[in-house]
Amino acid sequence: MPKIATREAYGEALAELGEEIKDIVVLDADLSKSTKTSVFAKKFPERFFNMGIAEQNLMGTAAGLATCGKIPFASTFAVFATGRAFEQIRNSICYPNLNVKIAASHAGITVGEDGATHQSIEDIAIMRSLPNMTIINPADAVEAKQAVRAAALHKGPVYLRLGRHPVETIFDEHYKFEPGKGVILRDGKDVALIATGIMVAEALKAAEILAKGGINAMVINIHTIKPIDKEIILQAAECGAIVTAEEHSIIGGLGSAVAEVLVEEKPVPMKRIGIRDVFGQSGKPEELLKAYGLTAEDIAEAARSLRR
């Protein structure tokens, strides 16, 4: 399976959609080559606006464009989009429920060598706290491409979380992305592995590892973290044990969202795989995933511990 970064799929999808949806405008904060909005910029220079290194104005301008019927995609790195411009997203985008798409690349620890300042491990938590916000974290390039279209068609703010690092392609051309709906990728009854983003591929590998030890794991892809698919989580709870996996802090992300559903509706033992409330560091993406416990083996071990 080819490895493609979700940001690559974003750039491609955006340039395609630009043809079809004339109201799409794209804004970036001096990172268009990295976020891949440069593909759109090249094709539709009159609908691309580089705002320079000024993320607050990036979000505010996008909000203004949205009030006039445009569908702005505002892109920068996840850490700056959600951190630097949080209050602009809160007050100028989410509160008035404006049709702005925040497509943030370089999310998570696999940003790699740039180190902790650039590794966004809290963006999902931050965006989850905002009313009106939809959060999509695609697992591979195929899903990312469809998610860009879904985001454009959705009325209201969307946070699209994209990665820098190439990830394995899980889905084929028959895959149909449905916003808000989790996807069961593998059936099982002993434990449910609920994953998002690049951790979906790891969860699938973990299920293989577990199968060898006689544990039959269900694997679920949660691409839409908000609104969360309650039904599929309750279905997963039937397994009696749940492991969540995300390239994000264990605070406030997928693990928290799943736990919130379970604790109110159907408590079952669970473990959260994620970054354990620490900042990252420089290193190669694979090294970092290993160092911070974000591998298939870590997921499998968490599942085993719940079964013991």
Binding site: Q56, M59, A63, G64, S92
Partner: protein, 275 residues
């Protein structure tokens, strides 16, 4: 756009009504920001009653001129102007800041007819105005965008990000007002954190700069006329104003930034403003 003697008288009468509403509204609400509402009243009246192309019967008319009240705490002034213009009943003004009211403490575009942008967190409005001005250019439409900023608000970094962008994208369909009343919550702007020299700063960012007396309709209109005729760059109109304008005991008094008058003080204020 030139303004006649009769029109000045008409605007003066509207402004008096608006100022009376501001006093009544904040007194009734028991909170709010009368000082900065009174200082930008004449600017808003000039815009809505002489300059802007709007239709109160169709608040979302796509061709309309837009106004972003970046200094959102002056919401009472905006609401009073919108009500007098016919966007909603004048009686509704007294629901300001009350539960379930369409008139929130700070402007909410989804609740109040005629409000073009949700504001209140200072520093954010000019960016939104830029977005609207860019949209007009993209669509080849001739509507204009106005933003009203406070002078204390200029301390926010985002204002200067937006100032840079408006000039970079040559947004000559955008006119910003600075309501230069010289006071902010903690005291005179010059003492808290001076944004001076405001004109020089905007000029350095590539803007056309015009000074006006923010309480003189002829001067305000002259400024807007010049702004409309300026091509290739945005214009900022620095309007010298008096915080609390029209109510003698509020004028230039920093205490009246965010304090509502008592009923008795309101009566005194209304008497000073006249019928």
């Amino acid at each position: 756009m030139a303004i006649t003697r009769e029109k000045v008288e008409e605007l003066t009468a509207v402004a008096r009504k608006v100022r009376r509403h501001i006093i009544d509204m904040t007194a009734e609400a028991g909170s709010g920001h009368p000082g900065g509402s009174l200082s930008c009243t004449d600017i808003l009246v000039a815009l809505y009653f002489h300059v802007m192309k709007v239709d109160p019967k169709d608040p979302d008319w796509p061709e309309r001129d837009r106004l972003v009240l970046s200094k959102g705490h002056a919401a009472p002034a905006l609401y009073a102007v919108l009500a007098e213009k016919g966007y909603f009943p004048v009686e509704e003004l007294l629901t300001l800041r009350k539960i379930d009211s369409r008139l929130q403490g700070h402007p909410d575009m989804k609740k109040t007819p005629g409000v073009d942008m949700t504001t209140g967190s200072l520093g954010q409005g000019l960016s939104a105005a830029n977005g609207m001005a860019i949209a007009a250019k993209l669509d080849g439409k001739d509507y204009r965008v106005y933003a009203v900023l406070g002078d204390g608000e200029l301390q926010e970094g985002q204002v200067w990000e937006a100032a840079m962008a408006a000039s970079h994208y040559k947004l000559d369909n955008l006119t910003a007002f600075v309501d230069h009343n010289g006071l902010q919550i903690d005291g005179p702007i010059a003492e808290v954190m001076s944004p001076e020299i405001i004109q020089d700063k905007f000029r350095a960012f590539g803007w056309n700069v015009i000074d006006v007396d923010g309480h003189d309709f002829e001067d305000i209109i002259r400024g807007i006329e010049e702004a409309v005729n300026t091509k290739g760059r945005p214009t900022v109109i620095v309007a010298k104003t008096v915080k609390g304008k029209g109510v003698p005991f509020m004028e230039n008094q920093v205490d009246w930034h965010g304090k509502a008058p008592s009923r008795q003080q309101a009566e005194e204020a209304l008497k000073a403003l006249g019928e």
